[in-house]
């Protein structure tokens, strides 16, 4: 096949898009802005969940936000090699991973500061944070070397 991958873009890099917090997600984004990873815990059955919801997915009990360890393992991942949308096209190739937090919830994230070839299922990872607006930050993950 001779077709080109994503062509380079001469425009200046665009920042990572910022989320628009809503009542269910605002505590998560605010914590990430301050460099903390939070998850919801059910006050009734103790189950941890992400993303934020009004109720526990298991028992419909009330939930509270609690600080998580920020540690997890790679459940699965892919390396994105084509994406025409900015700013993602500037990052190619980049790693999109599903990370299982030690508390239980699974999150979709980027693994950063590593070569795609270094990533493997089951590797230990830890959270790091990137503020993207005055009210929100994004949790990214890096290899827990």
């Amino acid at each position: 096949m001779t077709d080109a991958a994503t062509p380079s873009d001469p425009r200046p890099p665009k920042p990572r898009p910022a989320p628009v917090p809503d009542p269910d997600s605002a505590p998560y984004w605010a914590a990430a802005h301050d460099g903390r990873l939070v998850v919801q815990r059910c006050e009734n059955c103790g189950t941890y969940q992400l993303y934020g919801r009004d109720r526990c997915l298991v028992c419909r009990g009330p939930v509270v936000w609690v600080e998580a360890s920020g540690k997890g393992t790679v459940y699965s991942f892919t390396v994105i090699r084509q994406n025409y949308a900015r700013p993602f096209r500037d990052w190619i190739p980049y790693v999109v991973a599903l990370v299982d937090l030690v508390e239980g919830p699974r999150v979709m994230t980027n693994l950063v500061d590593c070569a795609p070839e270094e990533v493997a299922i089951g590797l230990a990872v830890r959270a790091r944070f990137e503020p993207v607006s005055e009210e929100a930050g994004i949790a990214l993950f890096e290899l827990d070397r």
Partner: protein, 216 residues
């Protein structure tokens, strides 16, 4: 699939390809190469649903809905999927077959949603055409060809024929054509039971439809 598309004058991609062509096409998202991904098309399809009694007066042969079921397994986010290797087909497939009073062995022809090659492997396993993890061996050696273990996507599928976004309707249309014996070079001889299976959302919505040539 591509061999079937080669016989379909309406297919978007009709030139034959080899395994080497697929693995040598550029990577899009590991481990999927470009030729592991469905085509992008404009298109549309429709089907007419009516009673068996009313259909008896119509000029074209009717096919019969023998059974159907659908399953929704998680919200529209892949991180909410419990196991990436098991889709809702494992729930709605067996239920649809039970409602139709058949087993996978009774199926003459299948139209399986194929956004990517992996989608087909997951689906043949989850519908029970083979055991979990044996999808690769099942489709190998033209297993999904017209003379194979399970003639599948006889129009070329989303990987070759067309994928205008709502692929599911084409699965039903091709199933009806097979049961009416209208498929020419890609006709499965004597096809009496067809299965159309759609997958949607983020691998989160599944639906199985069992259609029959003969009135139940």
């Amino acid at each position: 699939m591509r061999k079937h598309a080669a016989s379909n004058p309406f297919a978007q991609k009709r030139e034959l390809i080899t395994v080497e062509d697929v693995v040598n096409s550029r990577l899009v998202a590991d481990p999927l190469h470009k030729l592991d991904c469905c085509v992008i098309s404009d298109g549309g399809a429709a089907c007419v649903v009516t009673s068996a009694e009313r259909a008896a007066d119509l000029p074209n042969a009717a096919v019969y809905v023998l059974g159907g079921a659908h399953a929704s397994t998680h919200q529209m986010n892949l991180s909410a999927m419990a196991d990436l290797t098991v889709t809702g087909a494992a729930q709605c497939g067996p239920l649809a077959f039970r409602r139709a009073g058949i087993t996978p062995a009774d199926v003459d022809v299948a139209q399986l949603y194929d956004s990517f090659t992996i989608t087909v492997l997951l689906t043949v396993e989850d519908l029970g055409f083979c055991a979990k993890g044996e999808g690769g061996a099942f489709v190998e050696d033209d297993g999904l060809g017209l003379a194979g273990r399970l003639p599948t996507n006889t129009d070329g599928g989303g990987l070759s024929a067309c994928h205008p976004g709502m692929r599911g309707m084409f699965l039903i249309v091709e199933s009806v054509r097979q049961l009416r014996g209208e498929c020419g070079e890609t006709q499965v001889p004597g096809a009496a039971i067809a299965v159309a299976h759609g997958t949607g959302g983020m691998l989160s919505a599944s639906a199985t439809l069992v259609l029959g040539r003969d009135a139940p």
